[in-house]
């Protein structure tokens, strides 16, 4: 496996072959889609020996959407850890794509006083109905 990785010589491919970390996969797919040429410039690693151990850091690669850099830990030829140490997070789209996970409902059936709620969603409030709304009380508190 290591030998084959050596031939292919790219951090991306090693990680794609060896790691199931969803977040990273997202990042790498995105990376791939962003600039395929740049991904091929990542430094070849795992030179020579049959079994490799150590921490390897790929080159920081500029992509159209920002810089991407990946670090992996290999123990006896197996990738035991992979992380993106740099990835695009400068704009909202990047943040959204890199981080979006369907949120969970946190609490059910609350009394409304003092629960740390920041805002309320409900059927569209009219301006006339606003004065009686929970949101109105919150807004007043933060004005």
């Amino acid at each position: 496996m290591v030998t084959r990785q050596k031939e292919e010589g790219s951090v991306r491919r090693i990680v794609m072959a060896g790691v199931g970390t969803t977040a990273l996969l997202v990042l790498l797919l995105r990376f791939d889609a962003s600039n395929r040429d740049a991904s091929a410039e990542a430094a070849p690693i795992a030179k020579g020996t049959a079994t490799v151990s150590g921490t390897f850091t790929g080159d920081a690669v500029p992509t159209r959407h920002g810089q991407v850099q990946v670090r992996i830990v290999i123990e006896n030829g197996r990738i035991t850890k992979a992380e993106a140490i740099d990835y695009p997070r400068n704009n909202h789209k990047d943040q959204e794509i890199n981080s979006w996970v369907v949120p969970k409902l946190e609490q059910a059936t609350l009394d409304t006083n003092g629960t740390g709620i920041d805002s309320y969603s409900g059927a569209t409030v009219t301006s006339e109905g606003y004065q009686q709304s929970l949101q109105s009380a919150l807004d007043q508190a933060a004005k």
Partner: protein
């Protein structure tokens, strides 16, 4: 991630399109002039949008399209953008969201109101967030909420879903850093969401709340689901990247989750020679 937020915070309220719009900002400059300036720009954009899209103002572009005085092809680019989004909304909801609604006289006319609110709320939230790096922003337009967090030391905004039977109670909360939450229901305005096929108001559900990465589409899905009635649950359960909370007619609730959105929605990169032309 801390559970509480020590950052300065400020709220503004503006009434636009006959609904209250609450804008919350937290971060070091929340109570300084910079935030106030950014919020004023956002509010101005809300008013401009109302002038363009209101069906209650006879001089708005949408009113003039409805009366036949304006050829849609000559409309403002923003109106054309919204019209295209309305067509997309109809496609992704199997026709349950439709901007060509039959009026009381039975004639179908262009009415993008149901999409414009979510669209403009998300738009001004993005603008505000761009104007205020290192700050978190929340915009709540009459119960539909868009949030963007650019701080890393703050918890996500905690968003409460109101009980449609008792608006002083909260049925559940969701913590959100980026995205939108929209609720459709009859608790505040009576029956105002109609079945696009018949024009008859939908009354089967008490409320539908949809949470997703973009308020625009969460809002469209919530509106369509409310019109569709109880059968919406199956559709919402397949909606990847979204969480939905439905209060049925009998007051019981359903929570529906699509898959986490793990596939980036970028098109494949074009050949290197054509990169950098602003494609997204």
């Amino acid at each position: 991630m801390p559970a509480t937020c020590d950052q300065p915070r400020r709220a503004w309220v503006e009434h636009v399109m006959s609904m209250p719009v609450s804008i919350h900002v937290r971060g070091p400059l929340a109570r300084e002039g910079a935030a106030d300036l950014a919020v004023r720009a956002a509010v101005a954009e809300l008013h401009r949008t109302e002038e363009l899209f209101s069906v209650f103002r006879p001089d708005s572009e949408v009113s003039r399209i409805r009366s036949g005085a304006l050829d849609p092809a000559d409309a403002d680019p923003l109106v054309l953008e919204v019209a295209a989004l309305c067509r997309r909304a109809r496609e992704i909801t199997d026709g349950w969201f439709d901007a060509d609604l039959p009026g009381p006289d039975g004639v179908r006319r262009f009415n993008p109101t149901g999409l414009v609110k979510g669209w403009v709320t998300e738009r001004v939230t993005d603008r505000l967030s761009e104007a205020l790096p290192d700050h978190d922003v929340l915009v709540n337009a009459g119960g539909d909420i868009a949030v963007r967090c650019r701080r890393t030391d703050t918890p996500g905004w905690s968003l409460g879903i109101e009980d449609p039977a008792d608006r002083g109670r909260v049925l559940a909360t969701v913590r959100l850093r980026t995205g939108g939450m929209a609720t459709s229901g009859t608790a505040a305005r009576g029956a105002h969401i109609v079945d696009p096929a018949t024009g008859i108001p939908a009354t089967g559900l008490r409320s539908v709340t949809v949470v997703g990465p973009r308020l625009l589409w969460a809002d469209v899905q919530a509106t369509a689901a409310f019109a569709r009635g109880e059968a919406c649950c199956e559709h919402l359960g397949r909606l990847d990247g979204h969480l939905s909370f439905v209060v049925l007619g009998d007051g019981s609730t359903r929570t529906l989750r699509g898959a986490d959105r793990v596939t980036p929605r970028f098109p494949r990169a074009r050949p290197a020679t054509s990169q950098g032309e602003g494609q997204h």
